[in-house]
């Protein structure tokens, strides 16, 4: 059905289409895509690729795999957008897909004990450090301290139980509301608050010896 609709090319043409799409909210961009405007999908990718990558990376701790999973999220969005219930928030839907994929990845990994969260994460940090940490004006010991601190923080997050970590990242990194987290993780509101409280306490306990 959506394919038929998609073939009907929207009459919006011209150089301002990207600007118009940028000005639209998610729901309007989704509508434009379903109306046949293929560039609307690129707009959705632009909006969510970094956020989803960070979310998945913080959840599974493997950058390469996180990129693959985010690509998979967008493929699924492309294929099934016509089934998306537009009375709900697009961001919640897309995070739900990402969360489920990340959960599956962790489940598969737990069946294969050779791949460990920390191992993967350390390899990435040693070989593929982000550019923002290559500040040449900073003193080497500062850079070391920064990198060391980041490692500690990421390792501390990785030590949280999976269901606590998921809620913790959605709240602290993505700034999702309790209700959205409940929808994404398919838990009730009370469970979300309880998990968030425990995750915060655990994280603070784990990291306290390094920062005090």
């Amino acid at each position: 059905m959506a394919d038929i609709v998609r073939k009907r090319v929207v009459a919006v043409e011209g150089p301002t289409i990207r600007e118009r799409l940028q000005a639209m909210d998610d729901s309007a961009v989704v509508t434009a895509f379903l109306g046949g405007e293929e560039r609307a999908f690129s707009e959705l990718v632009t909006r969510y690729q970094t956020r989803l990558l960070n979310f998945v990376y913080r959840t599974i701790g493997d950058r390469e795999k996180a990129e693959d999973l985010v690509q998979e999220v967008f493929i699924r969005v492309y294929r099934h957008l016509h089934r998306f219930d537009r009375s709900k928030k697009f961001s919640t839907w897309v995070y739900t897909i990402a969360s489920n994929l990340a959960k599956n990845e962790l489940r598969n990994r737990s069946r294969n004990p050779l791949v460990l969260f920390q191992t993967v994460q350390k390899n990435f940090q040693d070989e593929d450090r982000p550019l923002q940490f290559e500040d040449t004006t900073a003193r080497p010991d500062d850079m070391y301290r920064k990198r060391h601190l980041r490692e500690i923080v990421e390792e501390s997050v990785a030590k949280l139980p999976e269901h606590h970590r998921n809620v913790f990242i959605l709240r602290e990194l993505e700034g999702k509301s309790y209700e959205e987290i409940a929808e994404i993780t398919e838990c009730n509101l009370g469970t979300v608050k309880s998990r968030l409280n425990r995750a915060r306490n655990s994280f603070a306990e784990i990291i306290a010896p390094y920062v005090d």
Binding site: Q49, Q71, I75, P130, R150, E172, L173, F203, A204
Partner: protein, 178 residues
């Protein structure tokens, strides 16, 4: 407010979602309880560290790889659609064949089941010549067996061929004055 209640409401306190009165009670408790104040500070400091983790960016070829996969997706979709159409066509043709075969089978069966018309030699029936019986009526008359409704001329012709029966009669005068 006791420490237990403080810990229960701490999530909402950190997220600044407490109602005014509750917020004031939490603040008052922190001012009074050193342990809870420490706990609050520890949580906030840890969260600050986590929230300030540097964001990672997608690799340079991320978009290209995604576009390639989307194109594959489109091709697969088109192929799947054409295969689906072919499948529907095949199903429709099969159904039509089944219906046709069914019809043909039923027709043949009906023909085999119903007995054919018996072919017999034609039977020629002859009407036996009626026996001439004398008319014994009291009033003598000449009676012909010419059917009514014919015009006079053919009736006259047929009258010639029709058997004529004569009745023996005796004519008498009738007096109507009586």
């Amino acid at each position: 407010m006791d420490c237990r209640e403080f810990c229960e409401q701490h999530v909402a306190y950190v997220d600044d979602t407490l109602a005014g009165i509750e917020l004031v009670r939490m603040q008052r408790h922190i001012a009074e309880c050193e342990s809870c104040a420490k706990h609050d500070a520890k949580i906030r400091r840890a969260l600050l560290l986590f929230r300030n983790l540097p964001s990672i960016e997608p690799s340079a070829d991320f978009s290209q790889r995604l576009e390639a996969r989307i194109r594959e997706c489109q091709t697969d979709h088109i192929m799947a659609a054409s295969q689906r159409n072919l499948r529907y066509g095949a199903v429709a043709a099969t159904l039509a064949s089944i219906v046709m075969l069914g019809y043909i089978g039923t027709t043949l069966y009906e023909r085999a089941a119903t007995p054919r018309d018996l072919l017999m030699p034609p039977v020629v029936a002859t009407l036996p010549e009626p026996e001439l019986m004398p008319i014994t009526t009291s009033t003598p008359a000449i009676v012909t067996s010419v059917s009514a409704g014919l015009s006079i001329f053919p009736a006259a012709l047929f009258a010639e061929q029709a058997p004529v029966r004569f009745a023996h009669s005796k004519l008498e005068l009738t007096d109507y004055t009586r």
